[in-house]
Amino acid sequence: MTTRLVASRRRADASLVIGIVLIGIVIGMALVSYLWTPYNPTQAMPADRLQGMSADHIFGTDRYGRDTFTWIMYGARITLLVGVVSVAIAALIGVPLGVLAGMTPYGWLSGLIMRGNDLLLAFPALLLAIVFSAVFGPGTGPAMVALGIASIPGFARVARSGTLQVMSTEYIMAARAANRRIGPIAVFHVLPNIAGMIIVQASVAFALAILAEAGLSFLGLGTQPPTPSWGRMLQESQQYLSSHPMLALWPGLFIAAAVLGFNLLGDGLRDRFDPKLKGRD
């Protein structure tokens, strides 16, 4: 038993480390891009168009002569922004609802919340995002909000089941018996106990949001020009697949790396936070 525990711990650590490194690279690039980038992202230099990798342009240039590395750096911002905002929307709405559903003594309230959750589940992220882009016009904003709303049910479910577990512990039973108010119990006892699960969920939702944003931008419904975005870079590189495949390679690589990073982080954290789930992916 101990050997297995150690093995799984080691694997979790490996996941965590790789995940944190990958995410660190993405965050680092986004932060550095505020201070410095090799070139101005929107400035076209027609004379330098479609160059390969060189000392001047380490990732080459696009059809307008813009530096691809600069674009990758700026693209990291949008990727993170979409992830952070959509996860924040989902968590800020989903978690309180889930906790409430788990704590409330009124069955109808918990039922109502969970039925509302089911209703939301009927609108998958991409469908909601397409409808939103039609209603509010295509853009990063509507995409983030749509992805956020579509991720609410996931957070609500996790929060509710976590809350139910916590509520059944003797400690909480005692607190309730002592007539402690529901608010303080939620803040001081429930939330800290379910925080780990929420963070895992956030990590997974983050990865899904990155993929969804890339897909939307690929359809032309996500981030709009001239804002650099990895998904849009991939879409624009399609014309050059046979002549300049590197143009597709870089954004593709970074999307995959970011998604992989958040998935690995989620896995590693899950193994850490929930010893019962050890050995699971």
Partner: protein
């Protein structure tokens, strides 16, 4: 349990194997075979939402139907010249107001009806009735009366002489319908043309079948299919993998280089009537000031735009007139690329760093142009803010109808559209009074007066910095090397298929 699972797996594996096994043949479908093919597949970008151009706008429906299914009395050939179509000849009266058309004999509609002068009268009077709601109908407003002295003669009298009208007649407004076949135009097209619509699958394809009883003789191909690809790269892939024989308009010009092997493919570069216009709202906002518009025109480098956004294909024009028009004049030197001058004008106009809306329809050329235009404008101290709008729905409503924009970009594809685009109340907001008299005089004057008058109008528009004229849209056709009879230039409303053939 286990056995059943294994059986399932085996069955599914068989299916997968069949898939790869059959595919080799299917992929080569069409390119092999010694016998001459009698069918052809043509890929297009803009798809018709229905078959009724009398009530639905846009270029896609006329492109599919004019000359192929519907015909007018006259047509425009590849060089932009007027040619007889359903009218074998016509006379113009002394006062240039009455046209007498002599119809071809033995013309039938695809439903068997015979063409008579009554059909022409019916069709053209219908344009001026409420049945037509397409804005194009304005072109026929100049008709005063239509007479039919006999079955083969039509006499059309105009309210004023017009140099442009006969050319307009060659477009969709001139289509001749059969009186008893206009009930369901959206789904059934009955015309006198060489082909009839065999099937129409919305969003996917139109299949045309050759008519044996076409008055002009049976066309070369028995079946022609138009397939619609919204994504330009997918269309190119379809040509490469042999599913499509002709790509009517390459919307990803950077890919032209992929078709360099002359044994397999041909790339035909022709011209169109499409001016890619960087429109500015002359009526209100930041560009109501001529200095601001001039700053934009000095700031943009049309050659660089053409090279980066459209692979260098296309022609610089500098004005609203394509080189194929009789009144064309090279206006590219009126506003040369001069960033310093642009900066100066930006300062003079006091608009440095002032943000303005640049609405971009989500069309391949428009989005490709947007990035480079923004870069050039920023260099001159201007601050455009891109707002992507879906085409047609959102762009039509916000930019085109409500004039809620500062700058936009669109390819104005119609022939002779200068006076429309800079006409009264149009979205450009141009002060029409600047050209109104000159335009009127030109249209009603002699042919020489027409040419010189229209030249003046075009020059006035350019000098007023009414809009940026980025380039003339090229007609890039990619086709199998063995296809001949391709309509090299796209100067009429239609993509004629009767001339297509296999070598």
């Amino acid at each position: 349990m286990t056995r059943r699972l294994t059986a399932w797996a085996a069955a599914l594996a068989a299916v997968v194997l069949t898939a790869t096994g059959c595919s080799a043949g299917a992929g080569n479908n069409g390119s092999g075979g010694e016998e001459k093919r009698t069918d052809m597949v043509v890929a297009h970008t803009a798809e018709p939402v229905n078959l009724d151009f009398t009530t639905t706008g846009g270029a896609a429906i006329p492109q599919a139907l004019m000359e192929n299914v519907y015909e007018s009395l006259v047509r425009i050939d590849q060089d932009g010249e007027l040619k007889p179509a359903l009218a074998e000849s016509w006379d113009v009266s002394e006062d240039r107001k009455t046209y007498t058309f002599h119809l071809q004999h033995g013309v039938t509609f695809s439903n068997g009806d015979e063409l008579t002068s009554a059909d022409v009268k019916f069709s053209y009077e219908r344009v001026n009735s409420d049945a037509w709601t397409n804005g194009l109908k304005a072109k026929m407003a100049v008709i005063d009366s239509i007479d039919t002295p006999d079955d083969a003669t039509v006499e059309i009298t105009l309210t004023d002489p017009s140099n442009g009208w006969l050319y307009d007649l060659a477009s969709a407004v001139g289509a001749v319908f059969s009186e008893d076949a206009v009930d369901d135009l959206a789904n059934k097209a009955v015309g006198t043309g060489p082909y009839e619509v065999q099937s129409f699958t919305r969003g996917q394809e139109i299949v045309y079948a050759a008519r044996e009883d076409y008055w002009g003789g049976q066309p070369n191909l028995e079946t022609v299919t138009f397939k619609y690809y919204k994504d330009p790269v997918a269309a190119v892939n379809a040509v490469k993998s042999g599913e499509v024989d002709v790509l009517a308009s390459l919307q990803a010009p950077e890919l032209a280089g992929d078709f360099e092997s002359p044994d397999d493919y041909q790339v035909v570069e022709g011209t169109t009537n499409g001016e890619v216009v960087l429109s500015m709202n002359n009526a209100e906002g930041i560009f109501a000031d001529k200095k601001a518009r001039e700053a934009v025109l000095y700031a943009i480098d049309e050659q660089a735009i053409l090279d980066t956004a459209w692979g260098g294909y296309g022609t610089l024009i500098g004005g609203m007139v394509p080189p194929t028009a009789p009144y064309y004049e090279d206006l590219t030197d009126v506003y040369p690329h001069d960033v310093d001058k642009a900066r100066e004008l930006v300062k003079e106009a006091g608009i440095e760093g002032e943000s303005f809306t640049y609405t971009v329809p989500n069309l391949p050329y428009a989005t490709a142009v947007a990035d480079i235009v923004v870069s050039q404008l920023e260099e001159a101290g201007l601050k455009p803010k891109i707002e992507t709008q879906e085409f047609p729905a959102v762009w039509l409503e916000k930019t085109f109808t409500n004039h809620d924009y500062d700058m936009s970009v669109i390819n104005h594809v119609e022939a002779n559209d200068m006076l429309t685009v800079f006409g009264d109340g149009y979205y450009t907001g141009y002060d029409y009074s600047q050209i109104e008299d000159a335009a009127k005089k030109a249209d009603t004057g002699t042919e020489e007066e027409y040419v010189s008058g229209m030249k003046d109008v075009a020059r006035t528009i350019t000098e007023d910095a009414a809009a940026g004229f980025l380039f003339l849209f090229p007609n890039l056709i990619v086709a199998d090397a063995k296809v001949e009879g391709l309509p090299e230039n796209f100067v009429s409303d239609s993509f004629p298929i009767a001339t297509l053939a296999w070598k």
